[in-house]
């Protein structure tokens, strides 16, 4: 089939097969991909609404045994720079989030062997006791796999316990590229294979949770492997319908072991548009302005995206790898309206919550991102002494009277 014939099929609402998608992605002019993706976006969202969420991306620990080669965020077990957030610090972040109109934490972190399942349960319960309406979008599939190994429990049981404790939904992080050849090269095969990632999402959907799916591209994968990733997501979505959104973002090479270069802006727009074409069963596509910057982030809205993602209050992972874009609600809304769309706040389920909050009440403007740990605070909170540690360094530290503090 020619590019032209496939384009006609897509324009008529047809579903592309793998080979057709490969041909489009490799050979279709960028404008054509944009036109097709924009038409699909318009069919799915004819009301010309573009959504965004006010939430906070909190990384509860940077200690991680997975050591993915593309990650600039993690610290090894026993590192003097390793941290875990205290419950009190997390409450404070929630308070600040509520202050700017947020209703959710995106809570993810490293695979810390010294945080047992009970710590997560206690945290979730404590959050829900204090903030009953606040939502926890937490623990990407590899973190769930890690907890299942740590607790020696099946994934389903871990998810059940986390739901009981207060988990509302699961973010689609840790997917990278859902092809094991790539995962082995990126040293993220052991944290979760492609099947394990899909398995956690299947279990979560069956347990009644909605989740997102992500794709980090631009490392060692081929264009065909990017599409294989999209087709795995599409396949599970056909089965469960549990994904609310798909988010593609480009690998950020700064300070990583893998190093290399970042995929270009045009490659991002082509990938996004192709995702809109392939993922005909996923309603929402997010713009990754965090990796692409506000300008290309906004242009995403012409290439298939219908959501501007999160008004970032805090971000640690992408920033560690070099990207440091920041937009508050006013800027996000300006970008949406400038592109000719109506901005609406949403929750994780993509229920519309209303008009921009800054038009309802005064909200402090934010021109920079908060960090995980404020200077001068203890890197390892005292409350950890109540939990079993696996590593020797953590066991010794939990016995010791004082704890190292973040240099101010």
């Amino acid at each position: 089939m020619s590019v032209h014939a496939i384009a006609e099929k897509v324009a008529a609402g047809g579903r592309v097969g793998f080979d057709e998608a490969c041909l489009l992605y490799r050979e279709a002019p960028t404008h054509l991909l944009g036109t097709l993706a924009d038409a699909i976006r318009a069919r799915r969202h004819p009301e010309r609404i573009v959504t965004y969420i006010i939430d906070r991306n909190v990384n509860y620990t940077n200690v991680c045994v997975a050591r993915c080669s593309f990650c600039a965020f993690y610290r090894h077990v026993g590192s003097p720079e390793g941290y875990v957030l205290s419950f009190e610090e997390i409450f404070q972040k929630i308070d600040e989030t509520i202050e700017v109109g947020g209703e959710q934490l995106l809570l993810q972190g490293g695979h810390n062997p010294d945080l047992p399942l009970e710590w997560y349960e206690d945290l979730f319960r404590a959050v829900k006791a204090r903030y009953p309406r606040f939502r926890l979008h937490a623990l990407s599939p590899p973190e769930v796999v890690h907890l299942s190994r740590l607790a020696k429990l099946p994934v389903e049981a871990v998810i059940d316990r986390l739901i009981t404790a207060g988990l509302d939904s699961i973010p689609g992080g840790g997917a990278e590229i859902l092809v094991d050849r790539v995962r082995k090269l990126l040293n993220c095969y052991n944290k979760a294979t492609a099947d394990e990632w899909i398995g956690v999402m299947r279990a979560a959907h069956r347990a009644g949770l909605r989740t997102t799916a992500t794709m980090m591209y631009g490392t060692v994968e081929t264009p065909e492997e990017r599409l294989e990733h999209m087709f795995r997501v599409r396949g599970l979505q056909d089965e469960t319908g549990g994904f609310t959104a798909f988010i593609a973002w480009s690998y950020q090479p700064e300070h990583t072991e893998l190093s290399g270069v970042e995929a270009t802006g045009v490659e991002y727009l082509r990938t996004l548009a192709t995702a809109r074409i392939v993922l005909d069963n996923v309603d929402n596509l997010q713009s990754s302005w965090v990796t692409q910057g506000g300008k290309v982030g906004q242009l995403s809205l012409a290439f298939g995206a219908n959501d501007m993602g999160s008004v970032m209050i805090e971000e640690n992972v992408v920033r560690a790898a070099g990207a440091s874009y920041c937009m508050d609600e006013i800027e996000i809304v300006t970008n949406i309206e400038n592109a000719g769309f109506a901005p609406r706040r949403r929750n994780m389920h993509y229920d519309l919550l209303g008009e921009p909050i800054f038009r309802e009440r005064a909200i402090p403007r934010r021109f920079g991102l908060a960090v995980a740990k404020d200077a001068g605070t203890a890197l390892m909170p005292d409350e950890l002494s109540g939990y079993a540690a696996r590593s020797r360094s953590a066991r010794e530290q939990r016995r010791a009277p004082g704890r190292p503090a973040q240099p101010s």
């Binding site: 002019p29 960028t30 404008h31 944009g34 036109t35 924009d38 010309r48 090479p253 700064e254 190093s259 290399g260 270069v261 995929a263 270009t264 802006g265 045009v266 490659e267 991002y268 727009l269 692409q292 910057g293 506000g294 300008k295 290309v296 982030g297 906004q298 242009l299 012409a302 290439f303 300006t334 970008n335 400038n338 592109a339 000719g340």
Partner: protein
């Protein structure tokens, strides 16, 4: 909107100017951004095909002309700053030309030279002196910085000199079409506009332009200025991502690529590799040029 774009496409293919009223319609319709880009891309391809030029620029502050190292990889040495007197300007150009060892030297804004000269005849004499000192071109004519742009541009033309690029400091509020029409008229009567850079040189950090604004103004410039050879974007000012996307919305030339080949993050992230990679990733063919617009051999 689809009909308007269809008409514009036919006018582009026939090499006809696009009427101002049509340009205004294109500007006010945000919803068909990709379609607008496609028509601007047609106009760009009609003139340049997939050929995309770029220039590696060594910017030399005036006061440091005697000692700032000039990277040999530069394709253009650009003197920046405002000289105190015509004599200083000529001396600085002479020194830059001596040190540039054959790399074309461009210098100054036309507005600064005009202010210094104080009249058309004096400006023509000054530009003649600069050319005799070895100047390849006046670096920049900022279209919104002149009391009488046409007079100044004609003085340069009459001196037999060139202006490397026409730029805009800041777009007026509202539509860019009237300003683009002015540039079009200037080109029609003077023929000196080799290149227009439509992205504003001055960035208001409190109210930055959006990605939509930027690529729309690039597309509009390409469509409005049908007899201006080149539409240029600046690599450093707007960043690689936006500059690369602008190449799909009508731009064909990339200015301001870093000239030194320092690559602290590895050879694949050296400036030359970056620009080549970005142009190729947009399915375009990179061609390096110098400050006189001559193709540089690989």
């Amino acid at each position: 909107m689809a009909t308007v774009l269809g008409e514009v496409s036919s006018q582009v293919l026939a090499g006809q100017p696009i009427p101002a009223a049509t340009l205004e319609t294109l500007w006010s319709e945000a919803s068909d951004l990709v379609a607008l880009g496609m028509v601007a891309d047609e106009a760009r391809r009609k003139r340049h095909g997939s050929r995309t030029t770029f220039v590696r620029v060594a910017e030399i502050p005036l006061e440091a002309v005697a000692h700032v190292p000039i990277p040999p990889a530069a394709g253009e040495v650009r003197l920046v700053g405002t000289p105190a007197s015509p004599g200083d300007a000529v001396a600085a150009v002479r020194e830059a030309v001596r040190r540039a060892a054959g790399i074309p030297v461009t210098a100054f804004t036309l507005a600064a030279l005009s202010r210094m000269a104080g009249g058309a005849d004096a400006l023509r004499e000054l530009v003649t002196d600069l050319t005799e000192a070895g100047l390849a071109a006046v670096a920049e004519a900022t279209v919104d910085e002149h009391d009488d742009l046409r007079r100044d541009v004609e003085a340069v033309r009459d001196a037999g000199a060139a202006i490397a690029r026409f730029t805009i400091r800041r777009w007026p509020a509202g539509s860019p079409v009237p300003t683009l029409q002015d540039v079009r008229r200037l080109q029609k009567t003077s023929g000196v506009v080799r290149s227009f850079a439509p992205l504003a040189r001055e960035i208001d950090h409190a109210r930055p332009t959006t990605g939509y604004d930027d690529v729309k103004v690039v597309a509009l410039a390409r469509l409005a200025l049908h007899d201006v050879p080149s539409i240029q974007v600046d690599w450093r000012l707007y960043g690689p991502k936006l500059a690369q996307v602008a190449l799909l919305f009508g731009a064909d030339d990339v200015d301001g690529v870093q000239a030194d080949d320092e690559a602290p993050h590895g050879p694949r992230r050296a400036p030359l590799e970056e620009i080549l990679r970005n142009i190729r990733a947009a399915a375009l063919d990179p061609v390096e040029r110098d400050g006189r617009r001559a193709v540089r051999e690989a």
